[in-house]
Symmetry: none
Subunit: 226 residues, 2 copies
DNA sequence: ACATTTGTTAACATTAGCTTAACAAAAACT
DNA sequence: AGTTTTTGTTAAGCTAATGTTAACAAATGT
């Protein structure tokens, strides 16, 4: 999704900050909208249905936390992303765990490059590419966020590579992943490791899952299949 | 705190009354849950951690008084508010409810407006003094307002960074927080501190909590898990 | 101003998990 | 069948990531 189609609603009571953010986001091609308090933000959000709302926490009339709560409870808005703006040294405790469902925190003072990259990361998430934190296949459930694999009610611990490898295979059950592809997607293009490395990891996964699920297609690669 | 975030557990053996209360509370925006006896109520309460439980006194299987007693003895639930539903002419002496720690009585027949205003009053009490900033996970209770962590009846003092770090981890139990994320959310984007800093804080927290609860996922991050 | 508590760093110890090498087994090819 | 190629297995080393400690700096309290 290109920036031109992304609507971002900026909410802050300080005009300077709004202007600053708006300038930087517009330069990147985003569509921007502004509101100066939570109340206004919600009305506007319902109207324009932005992809992302950047909310200052401290605002008159209605603060960011409260606004976020309302947004999260509005069925029309519950899927928009919300990022909080927090003062540099604002106690994290003020916001932490108010599990109002914020997707990110951006701290002041805002640096344009940080802002942009955070926003892009956020939007990447919304587009589905990354998210999908929980995948269930048969009696297997892998949770990328918690980094756990649950198998027959048992939570198993998987070290990084094993997890990523299994995760990759499961991402498309049935598809055969060639060694090349596994290499680049689990290890990356730069680092070079021997060929047996993959086998060893496959073996460990099989060991933990009691075999069966990962199949070898000789000369081609591996696949996950029930 | 807006009604949308208030969870109320309604407990009565008469479906009509449940439905009546539920209808009225939902209209006000509260989240409601229902159970038809004390047994069920307790299981449900542990699960959903409601803010308020409205208990009928006379019920089959387990009556309200007994249920309340159990609730008050469960560390995870001891701070929820409990209100009893009493028949109009029920003798107060019979109730003995205050002995088991009820916070209010609501007498049948229930009038919607009375019900709502009593509930709001109750919840105001909660917000004024305790709770809301209080999170309980297992035998841990962290209070963001007081900056304290209670563990096995012991109030521990956590310095700011430690507290914020623990607080972050607990805000989503199970989720693995990468070092990057920890950095930005506890320290902020601007300030740069060495890598070992996080470890040292983690260590101190573990020291105080007697270890176990914070787990390391090597190469990924840390998570809080029971 | 001093004492105490927090936060950070640096240097070193430790460990988990990654990689490898060497060999065994199984397919695949002649 | 024999040979070649690919994969499985094992255990031992290696390395990067984390744990640990203590000393110092910074903040906070008295």
């Amino acid at each position: 999704m290109s920036p031109e189609h992304i609507k971002i609603l900026l909410v802050d009571d300080e005009p300077d900050i709004l202007e600053f953010m708006e300038y930087n986001l517009k330069k990147e091609g985003f569509q921007t909208y502004t509101a100066k308090n939570g109340q206004e933000a919600i009305e506007m959000a319902i109207d324009i249905k932005p992809h992302l709302i950047i909310l200052d926490i401290m605002m008159p009339v209605m603060d960011g936390i409260e606004a976020c709560r309302i947004i999260r409870n509005n069925p029309e808005l519950k899927n928009v992303m919300v990022a909080f703006l927090t003062a540099r040294n604002e106690d994290y405790s003020q916001i932490a765990g108010f599990d109002v469902g914020a997707d990110d925190y951006i701290s002041k003072p805002i640096k344009p490059r940080v802002l942009i990259s955070r926003i892009k990361a956020l939007l990447r998430r919304v587009n589905g590419s990354v998210s999908e934190d929980l995948v269930r296949i048969g009696d297997l459930e892998i949770d990328r966020e918690k980094y756990t694999v649950t198998h027959n009610e048992q939570q198993l611990v998987f070290p990084r590579k094993e997890f990523e490898l299994l995760s990759l295979l499961i991402s498309k059950p049935g598809k055969v992943f060639g060694r090349e592809e596994i290499m680049t997607r689990v290890w990356g293009d730069d680092i070079i490791v021997g060929d047996r490395t993959i086998d060893v990891h496959i073996r460990k996964i099989r060991e933990k899952l009691g075999d069966e699920s990962i199949k070898t297609i000789k000369g081609v690669g591996y696949k996950f299949d029930t």
